[in-house]
Assembly symmetry: C2
Homo-oligomer: 339 residues x 2
DNA sequence: GCTAATTGCTAAATGGATTTAGCAGGCGGG
DNA sequence: CCCGCCTGCTAAATCCATTTAGCAATTAGC
């Protein structure tokens, strides 16, 4: 309106228009509490800022205060696992609510890229770092300025006690409860059990707890698995083969407890092939609440990984100064038609 | 080793250790070409920098140069669509290669959040902005400093001519070619066609071109669809119902051309129900190369959306000063067993 | 031998906000 | 009347790297 504004509006411009020093303008705009500036001065500065459309230069602010309202989200894999998505989305939402912004970095799990990512983050003076681990592994963290808050998301670290994890113990328990409540006792097969996975070396750190929760619940109900079929990976075709084997060897089975939804997906295919119906002949439960769980017919009942909630929690924890310890996010039971 | 280094190492520290002025150190470390500094000075500065582990303060650098090596990636939806994932991953990889970093922002397609996101990006003096559109719609962009480069990713804008899109015209063509080459002539059904979609109002802007490519190829081969079944949304259960209808009304059909893989997924379920085999009785092609395409049995042949490549391209274009126009990324044909 | 050009480097300004130290004027107390 | 205190505000330092203008010492040129 007024004329060509070529340059950025600076604090000095605001101060000039308000007829005050930039020191005064700064104090007023940052809302300092103990200031002795007059109400009139406050009015004039705010008015001037609004009129000029003033936006503080964050680089200058960062230089002075070491605060950037920026959080680094460093994950080992973004696209490889569909899980990262929910985590990022939750973190993004919580960051936005807190007036922060997310710097996204990927390391591929390689130590040198990890170092690079951390350096890139520190160079930009981020206010904190979230390490999101899709696979369990100790992250190699180069010396970090002690003041930088760090949250481990979906993983743990001896160096950083603050972490956010799904409550897999309870979740595992729920899956068994679900089958028990539906009347299943002796014909339950466990699909995907794996010693290595249980040690948490190759999978998400917490699947060990998932399995522990399942076994604890079985014990509590006085039950035992009719079969336990194990495999290394948890892709649909493994579920297909395992389920096929179970059906051939133990036709009396009435329920399949699959350690994730992709295994369950494969199991559906094997059941269709064998002409067995879900849930009429065989009940199925999965874990994760993967996208495909809703696509299956009938819909797959599953124990959801609360990714979005975990992402939110990680940001909130990062920004709350006195947080510490392990934060477990409960895993909702998503009831569909497969039991 | 040497002692407690409480504070950040600054350029002045490096200069002091090298016995030179910080002006000299700056020129040497930024690799200015026309400098008259001695080889000896170069050596000493580099050595000092290495010894102290000097890392320039990006905030100070940004303040002076207006460059941050940071790119804003503003998308309407991150998690809602699984597509965003590949785009982000590609962008992330290309950014890293170029020594840049990605600021991730989500708008939910709401104009006020769009404004907020853009302001947050500009406040941080990003070197450029990528607008990723999952749904076609004109993005409301508040006045942007003219110097800020902008790339539209998976969308177009009258205001920003630089864009990256999948080559849907050719992709649509390929899908028909595939069926034609397999000998299909008269028994082809099109599943998912939709006038609204064709106008690109609710879907990704480019599906109109996908459909145009399909029709062009049909014309070229002198073919006509035996049936065209349309629907609003493209979720598996729509595919299920449409395929069921087609099978009931036109049992002579030999091929299903599904406008995306989720429709194809539902079609598989309908075929299984009807006891028809793939590809023996009926061939199926999809689009997108969704994750599920590989999970299906038999694997779904599909025309892939090159998300990762698009993400990479968007960053590369953003960083190349003379780029302009529409950049079409070709859609690879992913051959599996469904034809 | 003396000016002019080149070489090698530095002092100081700059970018924009925050923050400390402190100035001037008014008021109360003794 | 004088000292001290409070009020309302400002000057200047600070964060750190970049960049311009320019100084001193050589070397070249005639």
């Amino acid at each position: 309106m007024a004329g060509l504004t070529k340059k950025r509006v600076t604090l000095a411009d605001v101060a000039r228009l308000a007829g005050l020093s930039s020191a005064a303008a700064s104090m007023i705009l940052t809302g300092r509490p103990d200031t002795r500036l007059s109400a009139e001065a406050h009015r004039r500065v705010h008015e001037a800022a609004a009129q000029l459309g003033y936006r503080p230069n964050l680089a200058a602010q960062a230089l002075r205060t070491d605060k950037t309202r920026t959080i680094a989200f460093i994950s080992d894999y973004v696209a490889t696992t569909r899980y990262a998505n929910g985590l990022i989305r939750g973190a993004l939402a919580a960051a936005q609510e807190a007036g922060h912004v997310l710097l996204l970095l990927e390391t591929g799990g390689e130590p040198d890229r990890e170092v690079q990512a951390i350096e890139a983050a520190l160079d930009r003076q981020v206010d904190g770092i979230i390490f999101a681990a899709m696979r369990a592994r100790e992250i190699f963290v180069p010396t970090l300025p002690a003041a930088t808050p760090v949250v481990m998301l979906n993983g743990t670290s001896t160096r950083f006690p603050l972490s956010v994890l799904p409550d897999e113990l309870t979740g595992g328990h729920s899956s068994v409860d679900l089958l028990y409540a539906a009347g299943h006792r002796d014909g339950i097969a466990l699909v995907g059990h794996n010693k290595i996975a249980e040690q948490g070396l190759f999978r998400s750190e917490t699947v060990g707890r998932r399995i522990a929760g399942i076994h604890a619940a079985m014990r509590e109900h006085g039950l035992d698995f009719a079969v336990e079929e194990s495999c290394w990976e948890w892709e649909p075709h493994h579920g297909f083969e395992l389920a096929r084997k179970v059906l051939a060897q133990r036709p009396e089975i009435t329920a399949l407890l699959c350690l994730n939804d992709r295994l369950a997906f494969g199991a559906y295919q094997a059941l269709a092939e064998a002409g067995r119906s879900v849930p009429g002949d065989i009940a199925i439960v999965g874990f994760d609440n993967d996208e495909i769980a809703g696509y299956l017919r009938p819909g797959l009942t599953t124990i959801a990984l609360p990714h979005e909630e975990m992402g939110r929690a990680s940001v909130r924890l990062l920004l709350s100064p006195d947080a510490s310890g392990e934060h477990l996010i409960s895993m909702p039971v998503v009831v569909r038609a497969s039991i």
